[in-house]
Structure formats: C-alpha cells, structure tokens
Symmetry: C2
Subunit: 110 residues, 2 copies
C-alpha cells in the first residue's frame, strides 16, 4: 500500500473495524472482505487480525467460536456496550479532525 495511506490509517483503522462490527457481528476473514468491498483494498489480512486482538484485549467485543463448513473455526466478534462507546468516541474525534482539515483545504482554494 502507499506509505501515505498506511500512515493515515493509524488511528482510524480501529474505528473502521468497530464501524464494520456495528453493522453486524463478523469474523476476521469476513471483516477483511467487507473492508475490501468498501474501498479499503490494500489492507493486509494480518493487520486486521492484529486490530482484533487489540480490541479484544480492551474488552470492546464479545467473542463466539463457531465451526465453519469451509475451513477452521471462526472467531465471531460482536460489538458490546464498551465497543459502542468507543465507536461513538471515534466518530467524535473523526468529525473534529475532518472539520479542521477540510477548512484548511478550503482556505487554500481561495
């Protein structure tokens, strides 16, 4: 992936994954696929799993292990109350940053 985008994803990827889980519970492999559908083409699988380990440690998700007909068992992640709170906080930070940066871009186009 581009180095620029890699750096930009720091701090946003976790929120993005939480947002995906807010739509519906999902397992890692599935989350990767959903992200790709939504334009996050070049995010490495390993990166997603690392994020999932992190949000699990922070207690933002509940976990179910369910068998798969197509491969090894899946770890299905469900956003819990703490996760929803964290997602809400993420949207707040994101909005603030977005506003400031877009204002800066507008200034430059005068």
């Amino acid at each position: 992936m581009g180095k620029q985008m890699t750096e930009m994803l720091k701090g946003t990827l976790e929120g993005v994954v939480l947002a995906i889980l807010a739509l519906q519970p999902a397992y890692g492999y599935e989350i990767t696929a959903r992200l790709r559908e939504r334009g996050f083409e070049d995010i490495a699988e390993g990166t997603i799993y690392a994020v999932l380990v992190r949000i699990e440690k922070r207690g933002l998700v509940d976990i179910d292990k369910v068998p798969s007909e197509k491969g090894p068992p899946r770890k299905v992640y469900t956003l819990n109350a703490a996760g929803e709170a964290s997602l809400h906080e993420f949207w707040g930070s994101w909005s603030a940053l977005e506003t400031r940066i877009d204002q800066l871009r507008t200034e430059g186009h005068e």
Copy 2:
C-alpha cells in the same frame, strides 16, 4: 492530548503543515500558532519542529534564516515544487479516506 487524536494525526499532521505553508511561508513558532488558531490546540511545539526537520530532509521546502527583533533567528520555510506535489498527493489520499469512512458512517445510520 487524547490518545485517539494523537493516533489520528499520524499521517495527517505532515499534510496539515504543508497546507499551512501553502497559504504562505512561515517559521516553526508561527506555524504552531497558526495551527492553534485553526483548532489544532494541543499539538506540542516539539512535534511541529520534528515534522519540519522531516520535510526539510525530504526536500519539500526551501529555507531562509532571518533575524528576529523578539528572539533568536527564525527559520522560514517555503513550500517548493516538490512540496506542492506532496501536498497534492496528500489531498488525494485524504479525500479517498474521507469518502470511505463517511460512507461507512452513513451505512451505520440507516
């Protein structure tokens, strides 16, 4: 500063500084002040200087050392052609990320 915002700034702060310099040439202390005016309240001075060292090493700016009546000499940074190209690339990456994330937020509000 909030840990969340700290992480989000990674990858965007450099572009933000380039955008400030695109408005007009400025020196470090001045850039810090301009950022504070624009809502980036809690960015440490030292962080800005680190960014400036970086963009200098990458050849994105030209530098003038000019005396100050109020303190030590100032290092005035002016965006050059490479810097403008880098800023343009930043806006491209930012727009792409913004679009994807905002679309995800919209999906969640259905």
